[in-house]
């Protein structure tokens, strides 16, 4: 399949670039790929990394899920209904640009130091990205579609179900892609308290010890985790957005 080949070529190019840069820089801060891949395979083989991988995956996915469950419906309503948009947008604009990781102490007070705080923090950060993307997507639906719905006597809920949601779906998938990147990228932060498991923990722990090979093993694992999620998402997109492909 052409797709598999493209991925393979991309991976090769990335590793080669990495190798060349590592050789040129010759610095402990960028180990060579073979060192990292050997470390990665070793840790996978002896099972150490497997747990971390799955626990991080779970945290990221649950965080994204939590954010979507709230942000998508809200984004659809805020985007599609101008009166809501006017009222809610100032909140988004005031609350989005603050660094939510700094609110960690607050999150801990509210939800304790368990898993939920971690998932909540991921959800909180992803939430705004999903909200803004969904809102902007729903805003740009052509008025004629609303007219068609209206002439068919749709209730407001039906308008969301049959028009706003499917029309915004491609943008929601974009939001999902951005979320995956963000959620994984902030694991290193949310896994720096009250846990000794997870790719984020590995990264911070090795970074603290200046163990750059482990650090890059963590990064490498995250790239793979993200990649797997992206592939899944592409599958989903091919299914739910069939109508865009056939045209």
């Amino acid at each position: 399949m052409g797709r598999k080949r493209d991925i393979f070529i991309a991976a090769i190019i990335l590793v080669l670039t990495w190798e060349v840069v590592a050789l040129l820089l010759d610095s402990m801060a960028l180990p060579q790929p073979w060192e990292v891949i050997a470390d990665f395979l070793l840790k996978i083989a002896d099972g150490r990394l497997v747990d971390d991988f799955f626990i991080s995956a779970l945290r990221a996915v649950l965080g994204i899920f939590l954010a979507f469950v709230v942000a998508v419906p809200l984004g659809l309503v805020v985007g599609a209904a101008p009166s809501w948009r006017k009222r809610i947008s100032p909140f988004i604009y005031l609350l989005y640009p603050i660094p939510h990781v700094v609110l960690l102490p607050l999150v801990i007070i509210l939800f304790g130091i368990g898993e939920f705080s971690k998932i909540f923090l991921i959800a909180l950060i992803v939430f705004f990205q999903v909200l803004v993307t969904t809102r902007d997507g729903a805003k740009n639906i052509h008025q004629n579609y609303f007219y068609s719905m209206q002439t068919l006597g749709a209730t407001p809920f039906q308008v969301y179900r049959h028009l706003v949601l499917p029309a915004t779906l491609p943008k929601i998938l974009t939001a999902m892609r951005i979320s995956i990147g963000t959620a994984i990228a902030i694991l290193f932060f949310v896994e720096s308290f009250a846990t000794a498991k997870g790719l984020g923990y590995i990264i911070m722990d090795s970074w603290g010890q200046s163990d750059y090979i482990s650090l890059y093993t963590g990064i490498f694992s995250m790239a793979i985790l993200g990649f797997i999620l992206y592939m899944l998402l592409d599958r989903i997109e091919q299914w739910v957005c069939r109508w865009q492909i056939v045209r």
């Binding site: 801060a29 102490p105 801990i108 007070i109 308290f193 000794a196 970074w207 163990d211």
Partner: protein, 295 residues
């Protein structure tokens, strides 16, 4: 003239560096020193790894972990911490917990930062009280402010914190159970480290730097109050303890001693974090010999 870029954390240990700059001792000794502030050890170590700074203020654990026996850097001098009294770490109990004695820490989770001086001091303090490693549990919380907040909100019952956070926590009701300033021997020190490459290539500059540093130490020790404003600013001392906070007596730069080195490397080896590294490989003696004691 050769330039030295030195990474500093905003702690009281780095005051002599700033004093030397303010009093123009670097110029006096004909060395160009650029001081670069960092908010945490992580960014400092990154800059060090990248070679963007030549030297830095650090702690022995961090320095040895960074080096891993590769000879990338050397501990060039001791900063604060020669005597136990200069210790800055404390194990505290949460305001809302009923822990009041060290004994009650048994079986309790203590928030620390793994593989750092924090964990080291915690182990040492508790073991000096007769605790065995399985008497207590450590819970990992990397970021200092979060650890403190968790302590104050009773998310954890105990935590190890450095000054000035320890004092702030006490002001908020936390109870000090153990302090390394009360220990029988010095547990925590700061050290000045340089990359080995720099020590080779800019040997003279480093020597001059230490002379300037020594001058600054003298100035501070002679009239500490003159530098209180600078001390409060660069040491990031909270306003509520600004006036009462004692300005420590800074020691002249001197090599990091074997006595201080041994327990640290042993702890690291026992934990499996590094392989044994010979004292002479890690610690440099060269730069103090030229030190003039002109006070």
């Amino acid at each position: 003239t050769q330039q030295l870029r030195i990474g500093l954390l905003l702690i009281e240990d780095s005051i002599p560096f700033w004093v030397a700059e303010q009093e123009e001792y670097y110029q006096a000794h004909n060395v160009d020193v650029q001081l670069i502030p960092f908010l945490s050890a992580l960014e400092r170590d990154s800059a060090l790894a990248a070679g963007a700074i030549d030297g830095a203020i650090s702690d022995p654990i961090g320095a040895i972990l960074f080096d891993q026996g590769t000879g990338r850097l050397k501990i060039t001098s001791l900063g604060l911490g020669k005597t136990p009294a200069e210790g800055v770490f404390a194990i505290l109990a949460s305001p809302k917990s009923d822990i009041t004695t060290v004994e009650q820490l048994k079986g309790v989770e203590i928030a620390v930062s793994n593989s750092t001086i924090i964990e080291y001091v915690t182990d040492k303090l508790l073991q000096s009280q007769g605790f065995s490693p399985d008497n207590y549990n450590k819970i990992e919380v990397k970021k200092m402010p979060i650890r403190m907040q968790m302590l104050l909100s009773n998310s954890v019952s105990a935590a190890t914190l450095p000054e000035p956070l320890a004092s702030i926590a006490v002001a908020k009701g936390a109870k000090i159970l153990l302090k390394d300033s009360n220990a029988e021997q010095s547990l925590s020190q700061t050290v000045i480290i340089f990359r080995s490459e720099v020590l080779d290539k800019k040997k003279i500059a480093v020597q001059k730097f230490f002379r300037a540093y020594g001058d600054a130490v003298n100035s501070i020790n002679t009239s500490p109050e003159k530098f209180r404003a600078l001390f409060l600013e660069k040491g990031r001392i909270p306003a509520f303890m600004a006036d009462s906070y004692p300005i420590p007596v800074y020691p002249q730069p001197e090599p990091f001693s074997v006595e201080l080195y041994q327990p640290v490397i042993q702890w690291l080896v026992t934990k499996g974090l590094v392989n044994e590294i010979a004292y002479a490989k890690m610690v440099s003696q060269d730069f103090m010999s030229v030190q003039s004691h002109d006070d």
